[in-house]
Symmetry: C2
Subunit: 420 residues, 2 copies
């Protein structure tokens, strides 16, 4: 299915008109389609510039039913319609009331947005605007429901369809330790080497280490920004973003070119990271941090969440341990365990370098005789039986076995342990 | 209830006659009592020195029923009757067959053991022999069933009754890191300060750090040895054991004075550590280690198990992460979480030092206006509404709130963020 230019332009408009995760806008767009929803809102606001009483105008042309109410509940999951009341305590008013509030907050921007201009602006940057229906659209995001983005502004490879099927979010603290950065780098490199796309933010610390690791593993990586894709934030990561684009990776954002990253956008950005990936792994995170919110978004989407443990003396790992204790996350320590978590591979194998000791695999009574046999002097079978607490017959049988294995040596009437 | 000297002497004999965890001996003793069971075995072996065909003699005097079969299953849990066949694969033969094998392996020692002499030997060391029925006996050990020890050889405070009710095993690797030793020390000190008895082995590394921590917290600690309480193993810990005894702690073992610590005894010793404690915490452990077996013993007893995470790059923490991944252990990071795990205290509180940021606790739209307000120049409410994506009315209301909180300052017709 291909997307009409009118629809694409309208989605660009919506991405600039409302803040990320606006469930009322999402409900309107999924009910009427982006273009018609925008026409209705624009006409309503033209008749009532501050939005007061315009809700009726938006809905009247429709079949009379409330376009937003049916999806009202989804908003609770995605942070509300931003009318300021804490989720849960919000009086679940009629859709019209919420729509009226929404129109009031959209009104100030309504006159300034121009989707067509935004689309044009990105052309210059070799970017694009992905919308649902495009071949490269990551359908994994549809799980976000009414809080799904209207589209994704992208730079670099515009095919994100596979990230949801074979992508792992590797996220964590800006204030990472060298331990955390090393682990993030190695995990991402290992995933990239297994053709798994890495998804993360654009911050210093774990995010940057993950992208660098993915590049080192010569794999694809996706940087999800809270601001426009035309601006690196923090600036210090500008070269990293260029490298990502140059190596076939992608820089994406749901807000248009020129948008500044605000805290609200950072928080909503986290739902995109979780939504774009098959599974989410938190490498290092303070007790409270954006990475934790990404983990909660992933678990809300019923997608696997992993946490990398660290020293309990390190505050940078406190958030990971919190996720482990609460059961939100599974403990993961290497690439194999992350692949297992994401269901992208067979179970992680036990480490093959488990040390084996002489006597391993021997029957209990045989091992006990081996232990009882001193290496400095020889003991007779009777004395060995006493020392090992086995029968004389067991002692004789055991010594036979151990001699075959070269673990004991006969010496006169006695036996002694053979030196390895 | 007080214990007859005959019974006490017989239990001392059994503790020397059989290897720890011998379920057949446990079944005989719990059926006939230690004294009569020993009489029956001694008489049977006198008639048939190698034990062949003596099983009948042990049982015949009884009511004819098989004294060992009813408890045959318990042995699977506790490591079997040491006839060498892997647990589970053992053909569940008639009790007589297993008893015959047991008599054969007891025969070599039967002539040498002398419970009375063992009891006398310990008097010189200021020690004692605790048996079920004594006031100081830790009833928590009864959960081990037929594999429960016949008694505990102790040095130091002979009252272990409380350990099962308020004791935590802090165990881990000999090859510990400074990180692990520090955590073990601090955990044990914190537990000791809360009047929780610490239980651990006598090895270097985590064990020693835990005991030192308990002493530093001026609390009680219990050292469980695999060999006799008269010999420190390793020797290097001799002074630590003296300090434990001097400070009101206890050194215990189920094998008599003079017994050497064998690997089998170390493995069986772990069940005692788990059995003596309310909960078990593994601080550092290699992928395969005795501490892991202690954790499995604790979970077999349905007692809480905790594991302290560490760097995934440290092999010393691999066993802890294995326990976390398998779900055997809960992630614990400090004393409060260990107390919660052991059910010895209320839930661990969230860290109180969570950083708060300006705008925390404010309604969503108010926080967004705060973020939109620049600190370098002033913006008019209309511009702030556009930047924040809120209605003009919300912007005005928010600015009023923020001014009250001193977070924004009016400047002519505009507003700017106030410097903290």
């Amino acid at each position: 299915m291909s997307v009409s230019e009118r629809e694409r332009r309208a989605r660009a408009t919506w991405s600039a008109l409302v803040e990320p995760g606006d469930a009322v806008a999402g409900a309107l767009v999924s009910t009427f389609g982006a273009a018609e929803a925008w026409d209705r809102v624009r006409l309503a606001l033209r008749a009532s510039p501050d939005g007061a009483g315009a809700a009726g105008l938006v809905l009247d042309a429709g079949d009379g039913r409330d376009a937003t109410a049916p999806r009202g509940r989804a908003e609770d999951r995605e942070g509300g319609d931003h009318d300021g009341r804490p989720v849960g305590q919000r009086e679940e008013g009629p859709g019209r009331a919420r729509l009226a509030r929404a129109l009031a907050r959209w009104a100030p921007r309504a006159s300034t947005v121009d989707g067509g201009a935004l689309l044009g602006a990105l052309d210059g940057l070799g970017g694009g605007f992905l919308v649902p229906g495009d071949d490269g659209w990551p359908e994994a995001l549809d799980a976000l429901g009414p809080a799904a983005p209207f589209g994704l502004w992208v730079r670099g490879a515009a095919d994100l369809a596979r990230t949801g099927a074979r992508g792992v979010a590797v996220v964590g603290a800006r204030a990472a330790t060298t331990y955390g950065e090393r682990v993030a780098h190695d995990l991402a490199a290992g995933l990239a080497a297994r053709a798994v796309t890495v998804v993360s933010g654009g911050a210093f610390g774990i995010d940057a280490a993950a992208h660098r690791g993915a590049l080192a593993g010569s794999g694809r990586t996706v940087v999800v920004l809270a601001g426009g894709v035309d601006r690196a934030y923090p600036r210090g990561n500008a070269r990293l973003l260029e490298a990502v684009v140059a190596d076939g990776g992608t820089v994406v954002s749901e807000v248009p070119v020129g948008s500044v990253p605000t805290r609200v956008r950072f928080l909503q950005r986290n739902r995109l990271i979780a939504g774009l990936a098959t599974a989410t792994v938190v490498v290092e995170a303070a007790w409270r941090s954006g990475a934790i919110s990404t983990a909660y978004h992933a678990s809300t989407l019923l997608r696997p969440v992993g946490a990398v443990p660290g020293p309990v003396t390190s505050v940078a790992s406190a958030g990971c341990h919190r996720l482990l204790r609460s059961g939100v996350a599974v403990c993961v320590t290497d690439t194999a365990e992350v692949l297992e978590l994401a269901g992208l591979d067979g179970p992680a194998a036990d480490p093959s370098d488990v040390p084996t000791r002489p006597g391993d695999g021997l029957p209990e009574h045989v091992r006990r005789v081996l232990e009882a046999a001193p290496s400095r002097r020889a003991l007779e079978p009777g004395a060995l039986a006493v020392a090992a607490g086995v029968s004389l017959a067991e002692a004789h049988a055991a010594l036979g076995l151990l001699e075959l294995d070269g673990l004991v040596r006969r010496e006169g009437a006695g036996w002694r342990r053979a030196r390895p």
